[in-house]
Structures are given as structure tokens and as C-alpha cells.
């Protein structure tokens, strides 16, 4: 239930930021959606067993958390980082081009004034 609330919150706000528009909101929304997805995967493994899956001294099936979703989420986090970095480069590029277009408009406007 708590995870469900967290996921609802993160996906909702993530969607809000992305639909609202703007480069920074896009990236922030993307990060929040990434967290939500990771929590969903963890929730799929169940949250009633909360001991770290370190089996030194034998596995305790009743208390140890499901290791498979953890492995998925671990790589997903690193991949999210890779994608975020790539998104940032695209955003930086687009913003630069946009500002260039603006300054060109201004320049040509001045020329007309002369």
C-alpha cells in the first residue's frame, strides 16, 4: 500500500512535469518516472521479507528479500543514469540552437531598424 502510494505520487508528478513542457521539467519528470518504475519492480518481489539477500551462512527463505528484482533495478538505475546523461546533452544542444535562433531574430530586427 505504501509503495502503491509512492508510485502513484511519483508517476503523477513525473507525468505532470513532462506534459507541462520545458527542457528542465522534461528531465526532472523523467527522473521521477524512473524512480517509480524501480519501486514497481521492487514491489513485484514483495515487501514482506526485508533482509538483504546475503547468504553467507545459509539462505533464510522466510526473511530474505527477493534478489531478482533487485538485480533488475540495480542495472536499471545505472542505465537511467546513462539515458539521463544523453538526454542532458540533447537538451543542452536544443537550448543552444533555440537561443541562437532568438539572437539571430534580434540581429535581423536591428538591421531593419537601420
Amino acid at each position: 500500500m505504501t509503495l502503491a502510494i509512492a508510485v502513484a505520487l511519483l508517476t503523477g508528478v513525473g507525468t505532470f512535469l513532462i506534459v507541462r513542457g520545458g527542457a528542465v521539467r522534461l528531465i526532472l519528470g523523467f527522473i521521477l518516472l524512473g524512480h517509480a518504475a524501480n519501486l514497481i519492480i521492487i514491489a513485484a518481489g514483495g515487501t514482506f521479507r526485508r533482509e538483504a539477500p546475503l547468504v553467507d551462512g545459509g539462505a533464510v527463505l522466510d526473511t530474505m528479500a527477493d534478489p531478482l528484482p533487485q538485480a533488475f533495478v540495480l542495472t536499471a538505475i545505472v542505465i537511467t543514469f546513462g539515458v539521463t546523461v544523453y538526454l542532458l546533452s540533447l537538451v543542452a544542444r536544443t537550448a543552444k540552437q533555440a537561443s541562437k535562433v532568438d539572437s539571430r531574430d534580434e540581429a535581423s530586427g536591428e538591421a531593419h531598424d537601420d
Binding site: 509503495l3 502503491a4 509512492a6 508510485v7 502513484a8 505520487l9 511519483l10 508517476t11 503523477g12 508528478v13 507525468t15 505532470f16 513532462i18 506534459v19 507541462r20 513542457g21 520545458g22 527542457a23 528542465v24 528531465i27 526532472l28 527522473i31 521521477l32 524501480n38 521492487i42 513485484a44 518481489g45 514483495g46 514482506f48 538483504a52 539477500p53 546475503l54 547468504v55 527463505l61 530474505m64 528479500a65 527477493d66 534478489p67 531478482l68 533487485q70 538485480a71 533495478v73 540495480l74 542495472t75 538505475i77 545505472v78 542505465i79 537511467t80 543514469f81 546513462g82 539521463t84 546523461v85 544523453y86 542532458l88 546533452s89 540533447l90 543542452a92 544542444r93 537550448a95 543552444k96
Partner: protein
């Protein structure tokens, strides 16, 4: 020997680029020798084939589908293989003299040889799948050779590829039906089982698909137009692919499949009708042409039509005549193409209106052209005459076939149409010879080409004469071919003189008509006009093509938007609709769920939520970018703590590090962005936020936390230590159990890093300046002092985390992020980092991970399987540690790329700098 013969040509193609480096255009000569050796390897087996044996060699190929790599040699494939290799050798020894020294020969020879191997593969295949693969390679190499001819080659090449590709698909369909029904792809077995396993309807479908494949490949009306278009390719390609071999693949397929359809009148009637129509249409079009290559192309279309019609007749004599015509046609048509190429080179034109009187300057070229043209026209004593006589005889005896019993008129009609085709053939053959070589010589400085240039055309021209005088030489192979296509041995008796027969009478009529057409050619040409009466094939093809392209553009238009909202909208609607439908149609959807397991929620979770909710809400209200970024980092921190509480220390550690690095990387980029304007629609955003949030929350509540531990989880927990030697189960899943997944994932990271490297070009210096701008110089100095302590600690931590990762929280990902953090601290504080460049880190990382995958196979285990290695002093290690090292290096590489390349300055600035410096230079020169 079969496989040696095929492999020889295939390997030769691989070595062509090397040979071209030293021999240039003369590479054709050694390749011709290769083709001849390959032919000799097959001839070694020929005595056995002639005795009636079929030589088969087979290897397991695709075990899962029970497909064998089967090669077989019988009479039919021997005949075609000899043509493929013999004509190939001739054309290869012709090409060096024909090709311009400046011509880019590497590609031509490579694809040419590859085509030779594929064509040989088609005729030697003993398995339908193998046949299909080689068949497609011939289409593709034809495409490459036509498209590679430079100006104007692209569209004809595309048309040819689409048309022959369509045929390839049809063949694929036929193969699938046969294979599914007979449960085998071995051709011999298919022939045995198909008659009883396939219903009449299925057999009809197979027949239609086979005919479609053959008609497109062998240029039958209405698919013929790609062949004249393909004439833009250089003459050696036209002579080999588009006259002697590639276009015969369809004929080969029809001959090969004939046994299936011996008692199938629809097959016979369709082949006969399309074949005769193509024969007459092609001959008319050939007569109309002024360009010698176009004339020969339409002539090929016409001759192929005759072959198809003969296969349609379906008697043993007719199939024998078809096989004989295949051989005769290969000989005279390759000769004619090579000679037209010589005329083109020497006289500079292929236009019949410009060429005249060439025999005075080039008597040997003229004589050879005359020989080949006579063979094509069906004049005794050349092999073309013998083939034509056999064809007439077969058409006349059509009523004796199994399917047209007693229909005397059918035989007469078919023979009459064949005579019209033969008369037209005589007329255009005469036009080539008399048009180009007779009349007044108008050009000066023309000479006979060197014997080296002429020899490749000389050989088949003389062969046509020898086989015309002694056609009995071919009795054995023609007989054997007839047996292979489903008939009992009849004992061919080919001869030049059969006595006074009706066939001879028809020949006389055809030649007389041809002479009349030739002497009244002005009148005939005026009657034919410049353009055919129907719209030409390319025009219709292009209309269909562009209509399809427009349709595709219209279908894809919604996806062309650059707005994120448009793309997300479709996905959102889909999810909402799916939820609504699910709730509506599944009765008691939510009531029927398992009860939630009691311990799933604990008080500490609410504490986390109490922190998370305000942070996320504040995030949406943040005024400045930096505030928003810090709050986003804080969200990550809260979730990391939660993950730790949920028993996932590895994940928590990873998330913490990633949050830190994201802030470091993103701060300079976002700080430089202009303040975001409110461009979106807040109401729409709020509505979609609520809908998406509620649905996701509902889904998580409904579908998770309602069952006990999965079997898989129990398996990993109980088996990890025994199977891998590691006690950190998460890490063993990453590097041992699901190593291939991880390999794919680090490849994604690798690609993302490469994308950054490609899209940006910035020095580390610029990056540090940008960082200093964000921080201010003073803070940087403090950081620099602190980093002298922090960096060594981080490096040591990374090493420890990496080393113990298999047993305790840590591992390649986490250690890589910690090491990346060390690099980040160094960068922020402006220290000079002496590390290999990020490209090297990434490449070595991926290389290490890949290399470790092969340790398993070396010891007999599967790829990526962990292998214990005993190292002195350290003790025993597993190979997955090496894999994990690759992971570590890639992560460090990615972090380094991100730090170097992301400061909001990209490649455009570099361009601008260059532009400015160029402007300065220019103005300097001007002043």
C-alpha cells in the same frame, strides 16, 4: 568435391580486395582460373553423374529446424554449373580488357565472384532453405552490381531488386508450404512425399508461387521490364548476370520443380501461355531497339519466354529442348554481349543509327558477331539451329503430352506462334550484324582489338559452331537432365540433319519470313514506331511505388511531431483504455484478488512517505533550476534509504551514487539553460497527472504484495553459493546467472557514452572552467585541498567494494560509480586527472566483459559460465570477476564522458570558433 568447388569460389570472393590491390583490373585473370578449377572439381564427378548417380554431400546446419547443408550434383545441376563457371571464366577474362583503368574494380570483382558462388549454390543446393538463401544472394548481388554502375543506376537497380525480391518472397512461401506439409526441406524427400501429403489446393498454391518466383527472376511478361533497365550495368555484368546465368535461375527452378507438376494441366497451360507471349513480345521489342544492349536485353526476354513455354509443354522432348536452348543461349548471348562491348569500346557507340561498315576495320569481330548472331537466328550449322528445331518439334508434338491429349489444334497454334517468334528473332539478329558491320565505314582510326580482348568471345562463338555440327556431344547430359526432371531415359538423338521433317519446314518458313522482315525493315520499323503501344513497365512500377511511399508517409505523419506530449498521448490513452476495459470485462476484477500479505507494510514506510510527499510537491513549485535539481536529488536520497530498509543494500548504494553523479553532471548544463517558460497547458498536465498516478497506484496495489516468495527467488537464494561461489545473491545474478543480460545492459551504457562522444566535442579544460563558473573560484580551492584526502579514500573504497562484490554489497556497478565519483571530485576541484581517455576505458571495458564470456567455452562450459581459476597467493577466483571488471571500466568510462562532455557547450560552438577564424583569415587576405 562439390563443397570444395563451391567453397573455392566463395573464398575467392573474400580475397578479391587483396588481389585488386596488387593486380587492379587484371584481377579478372586469376579469378577466371579459379572458376575453371572449380569447374574441373565438378567434372571429376561427372562420369559418375553420367552413369546415373546423384552425388550428395550433407552437413547438419540448422539443427532446430532439421535443415541440412546439402549439396547435390545431378545432370540438371551439372549442366547449369558448367554454364555458371564456364561463362563466368570467359567473362572474367574479358573484363580486364574491357574495363577502363580508372574504373573502381574492387567492388565489381568482389560482387561478381560472390554472385558466381551464389549462382553455383543455387544449382547445387539439395535443400530448399539453402536454395532460398543462395537465390536471395543472387538477387542482392545483381542489385549491387547494377546500382554500382554510377549515374542512372540507382532506379533500375531498385526496380530490379523489388521485382526479384517479390519473387524471392514467393519462393519463400512455396518453400514454407512444402516444408510444413512434408516435414522436410531436403529436395529429394520433398519430391517423394509431396504428391501424397499435399492436397490439390496446396499444390496449386505452390505452383503459383513457384511460377511467380521464376517469372520475376527470368523476366517474363509482365515482370520483364527490370531486365532492360539492368543494362545500365557494365557490359561484363550484363553478359554474365543478365544474359547467361542470373536470369536462368528462374528456368532452373521451373525445371527443378517440374516433377511435382507432371500431372497438373494448370501449370502447363500457364507456363505455355506466359512463355509464348513473352517470346513474341520480347522479339517485337528487340526489333524496335536502336541501342545494341537494349536489343540484346529484349532478345534475352524473348528467348527466356521460349524456354518457359517449352517447360510448359511438359514432354520429355520439350524439357530436353529447353535444356539445350539454355546451353545454346548462354553461348551465343554471352558472345554477343562481349562483342557489343568491344564495338562500344572501339567505335564509341552502341547505337545502330551511328554504327556502320565496321567489318572493314574489324573483320574478326564482325565474323564472330556473325557466327553468334546466326546461332541466335537459328541458322544451320550452329547449335542455335539444333535447339530451335527441337523446340519446333516439341511444340508440334504438344498433343502427345499427358495433359493436352489429342488436341491437335493446340500443337499447331503453339508451333505457329513459335515460328512468328523465330522469324522476328531472325530479323533482329540480321539487324545487329548488317546494321553495325555493313554499309559505308564512317569512322576513321578504327582497328581490330587485341587478341586478348577477342579471345573470350572467340571461344563460345566457336563452341556454338562445333556443337552445331556435332550436337551428339550433348546427348549424354541432355538425357541425364531429362531423367532428373521426372522422365525415364529416352535416349536423345540430337543431330544437325533429321531428314525432311515438319520442323525443318517450319525452320524454312521462319527464316524466309525473317528475311522478308529484314529486307522490308524500314517499313517494319516505321510500323513498330518508337514506343510500345502500352505504358512501359517502369512507369507503372514507379506509379505503384510512389503511391505506396505516400501511403506510408501519411500513416507515419502523427509520429513526426517533435512535441513530447503528442507521443505520450497515444501511450497514455492506450494505458487508460486497457485499464478501463480490464475493469469492465473481468467480473469482480478487484474483488477476486488474493489478500495482501500482512507484513508487507511497516510503520517505517509511513515515515518515508511523510518525507517523500512534501519533497515531491515542493519539486513542482521550485522557482529555480538549481532548487529543483537539489530537491530531485533529495527524492533519490529518500528512495535510497527506503531501498535499504526494504533489504536491498546494493540497489540503495547504487542509487545514492547515481544521485550524486547526476547532480554533478546536470548542474552546469541546467544552470546555463534559459529559465523555462510556461509553454505547456497546466490543466491538461494536472488531469493527466491524476489519471496516470491513480492508475499506476491502483495497479501496484492490485498486482503486488499478494503472493509468497516466487520459485525463482527461492532458487537463486538456495543455489547461488553452490553454483557460483558468491554469497551476494544480487551480484551473482548480475554476473553469473544473468550475465548475458548484463552484457546487453553495459552495451547500452557503452552506446550512450558513444552517443555523447559523437554529439559533443569539448576539452576537459573547458569543462573545468564551466564548473568553476558555477562554484566560484574560492570554493574550488577549498575543494582542491579536501580532494587530496577524499580521492584516495574513494579509490580504495572502490577497490574494496569491487573485490568483495561477489560476497557482500558491492560489485562492478557500485565500484565503478565510486571510482566515477573520485573522477568527479577531481574534475570539480580542477585537478588534473591522468587517466586513459574515456574512449579507451569504454572499449577496454566492453572488450574485457566480452573476452570473459569466452573463458567458459574454452573449458568446455557455456559462454559466460563462471569458471574457477586458481591464482597463487590470492586463492581461487572465478571468471565472473573479470566480467565484473569490464562492467566497472564501462561505468567509469561513462561517468568520465559525462563529466568531460556535458557543460552546456557543444559542437556548434566549435563550428562557430572555426567560422570566426575562417572569417578572420578571409578578411586578412582581402585587405
Amino acid at each position: 568435391m562439390l563443397v570444395a568447388s563451391l567453397a573455392l569460389v566463395g573464398f575467392a570472393a573474400a580475397f578479391v580486395p587483396l588481389m585488386v590491390r596488387y593486380l587492379g583490373r587484371f584481377t579478372g585473370y586469376p579469378l577466371a582460373v579459379v572458376f575453371l578449377i572449380s569447374a574441373a572439381l565438378l567434372l571429376v564427378e561427372s562420369p559418375e553423374v553420367m552413369r546415373g548417380e546423384t552425388i550428395v554431400q550433407s552437413w547438419q546446419w540448422v539443427a532446430a529446424f532439421d535443415v541440412q547443408f546439402t549439396l547435390r550434383l545431378n545432370g540438371l545441376s551439372l549442366l547449369f554449373a558448367m554454364l555458371v563457371l564456364g561463362v563466368g571464366a570467359l567473362v572474367l577474362s574479358y573484363a580486364p580488357q574491357y574495363l577502363d583503368p580508372s574504373y573502381e574494380v574492387g567492388r565489381l570483382y568482389t560482387v561478381f565472384t560472390l554472385f558466381g558462388a551464389a549462382m553455383l549454390g543455387v544449382v547445387l543446393s539439395g535443400d530448399l532453405i539453402l536454395l532460398l538463401v543462395f537465390w536471395e544472394i543472387t538477387s542482392l548481388s545483381s542489385f549491387l552490381l547494377v546500382a554500382g554502375s554510377g549515374k542512372g543506376g540507382t532506379w533500375p537497380a531498385i526496380r530490379a531488386l523489388v521485382i526479384t525480391g517479390l519473387g524471392g518472397l514467393a519462393l519463400f512461401g512455396a518453400v514454407v508450404v512444402l516444408a510444413v506439409r512434408t516435414q522436410t526441406t531436403n529436395i529429394a524427400e520433398v519430391f517423394m512425399l509431396a504428391p501424397e501429403r499435399l492436397t490439390a489446393t496446396e499444390l496449386t498454391i505452390v505452383a503459383i508461387l513457384i511460377m511467380l518466383a521464376a517469372f520475376t527472376k527470368s523476366a517474363q511478361v509482365p515482370f520483364h521490364f527490370w531486365l532492360p533497365g539492368a543494362m545500365v550495368a557494365v557490359t561484363p555484368v550484363s553478359a554474365y548476370l543478365h544474359a547467361a546465368t542470373l536470369v536462368k535461375a528462374g528456368i532452373y527452378l521451373l525445371l527443378l520443380m517440374s516433377p511435382l507438376f507432371l500431372a497438373f494441366p494448370a501449370w502447363n497451360i500457364t507456363l505455355l501461355a506466359f512463355g509464348l507471349a513473352t517470346a513474341v513480345f520480347g522479339a517485337f521489342e528487340a526489333l524496335r531497339q536502336r541501342d545494341l544492349k537494349a536489343l540484346l536485353a529484349y532478345s534475352t526476354v524473348s528467348q527466356l519466354g521460349t524456354m518457359v513455354a517449352l517447360i510448359g509443354v511438359g514432354t520429355s522432348a520439350a524439357l530436353a529442348a529447353a535444356a539445350l536452348l539454355v546451353a545454346a543461349h548462354a553461348l551465343f548471348k554471352a558472345t554477343l554481349f562481349m562483342l557489343v562491348g568491344i564495338v562500344d569500346r572501339e567505335a564509341g557507340s552502341r547505337d545502330l543509327n551511328q554504327l556502320s561498315g565496321l567489318w572493314r576495320a574489324m573483320p574478326i569481330t564482325a565474323a564472330l558477331t556473325g557466327l553468334a548472331a546466326m546461332s541466335m537466328a537459328g541458322v544451320p550449322p550452329l547449335v542455335g539451329f539444333v535447339a530451335k528445331e527441337e523446340a519446333f518439334y516439341s511444340f508440334l508434338n504438344l498433343p502427345q503430352s499427358a495433359w493436352a491429349q489429342g488436341q491437335a489444334w493446340a500443337g499447331a497454334a503453339a508451333a505457329a506462334i513459335a515460328v512468328i517468334g523465330a522469324a522476328l528473332t531472325f530479323a533482329y539478329s540480321a539487324r545487329i550484324f548488317f546494321g553495325a558491320f555493313f554499309g559505308p565505314l564512317t569512322q576513321r582510326n578504327l582497328y581490330e582489338p587485341s587478341w586478348l580482348f577477342l579471345a573470350p568471345a572467340f571461344v563460345p562463338a566457336i563452341a556454338g559452331l562445333v556443337l552445331g555440327i556435332w550436337p551428339g556431344l550433348l546427348n549424354g547430359i541432355i538425357d541425364r537432365t531429362t531423367v532428373d526432371v521426372g522422365f525415364t531415359m529416352v535416349g536423345s538423338d540430337l543431330s544437325l540433319w533429321h531428314g525432311l521433317s515438319i520442323a525443318l519446314g517450319l525452320s524454312a518458313i521462319a527464316i524466309t519470313l525473317g528475311l522478308i522482315l529484314h529486307f522490308r525493315r524500314r517499313w517494319v520499323l516505321r510500323f513498330l514506331g518508337e514506343e510500345p503501344p502500352v505504358p512501359s513497365g517502369p512507369i507503372i512500377f514507379d506509379r505503384i511505388w510512389f503511391a505506396l511511399v505516400r501511403l506510408g508517409a501519411n500513416v507515419g505523419r502523427p509520429a513526426h511531431s517533435t512535441s513530447v506530449g503528442v507521443h505520450l498521448f497515444g501511450v497514455g490513452v492506450f494505458i487508460v483504455a486497457l485499464t478501463a476495459i480490464g475493469l469492465a470485462i473481468i467480473p469482480g476484477a478487484l474483488g477476486g484478488l488474493n489478500p495482501v500479505i500482512p507484513d508487507a507494510m511497516q510503520p517505517v514506510d509511513f515515515a518515508v512517505l511523510a518525507l517523500l510527499i512534501p519533497t515531491v510537491v515542493f519539486l513542482t513549485r521550485a522557482r529555480t533550476t538549481i532548487t529543483a535539481l537539489v530537491l530531485a536529488g533529495f527524492v533519490g536520497l529518500i528512495i535510497a534509504v527506503w531501498l535499504l530498509l526494504l533489504g536491498a543494500p546494493d540497489v540503495a548504494l547504487t542509487l545514492l551514487l547515481v544521485e550524486f553523479l547526476t547532480v554533478v553532471v546536470a548542474a552546469p548544463v541546467l544552470a546555463r539553460l534559459p529559465r523555462h517558460r510556461d509553454i505547456g497547458r497546466p490543466t491538461l498536465a494536472a488531469i493527466s497527472a491524476v489519471v496516470v498516478g491513480v492508475i499506476s497506484g491502483l495497479a501496484v496495489w492490485a498486482f503486488t504484495g499478494r503472493r509468497g516468495p516466487s520459485d525463482l527467488s527461492a532458487y537463486f537464494l538456495t543455489q547461488a553459493e553452490d553454483l557460483t561461489g558468491g554469497t551476494n545473491v544480487v551480484n551473482t545474478i548480475l554476473v553469473d546467472f544473468r550475465g548475458l543480460d548484463t552484457l546487453g545492459e553495459i552495451t547500452v551504457l557503452f552506446a550512450a557514452a558513444l552517443g555523447l562522444l559523437a554529439a559533443t566535442a569539448v576539452t576537459l579544460r573547458a569543462r573545468q572552467d564551466a564548473m568553476a563558473e558555477v562554484l566560484g573560484r574560492g570554493e574550488q580551492t577549498i575543494l582542491r585541498v579536501g580532494s587530496r584526502v577524499v580521492i584516495p579514500l574513494l579509490v580504495i573504497a572502490a577497490a574494496v567494494l569491487f573485490w568483495r562484490g561477489h560476497d557482500e554489497p558491492g560489485g562492478g556497478f557500485i565500484a565503478g560509480l565510486v571510482a566515477g565519483a573520485a573522477v568527479a571530485v577531481a574534475t570539480i576541484s580542477g585537478m588534473k586527472v591522468k587517466l586513459p581517455s574515456s574512449g579507451v576505458l569504454l572499449a577496454v571495458g566492453l572488450g574485457t566483459a566480452l573476452a570473459s564470456a569466452f573463458i567458459g567455452p574454452l573449458t568446455g562450459a557455456s559462454a559466460l559460465a563462471p569458471v574457477k581459476i586458481d591464482v597463487p597467493i590470492v586463492g581461487s577466483l572465478t571468471s565472473s570477476l573479470i566480467f565484473d571488471l569490464g562492467v566497472l571500466l564501462i561505468v567509469v568510462g561513462l561517468v568520465r564522458v559525462a563529466l568531460e562532455r556535458l557543460d552546456g557547450m557543444d559542437i556548434d560552438d566549435q563550428d562557430e570558433l572555426e567560422d570566426e577564424s575562417r572569417d578572420v583569415n578571409r578578411s586578412g587576405v582581402a585587405s
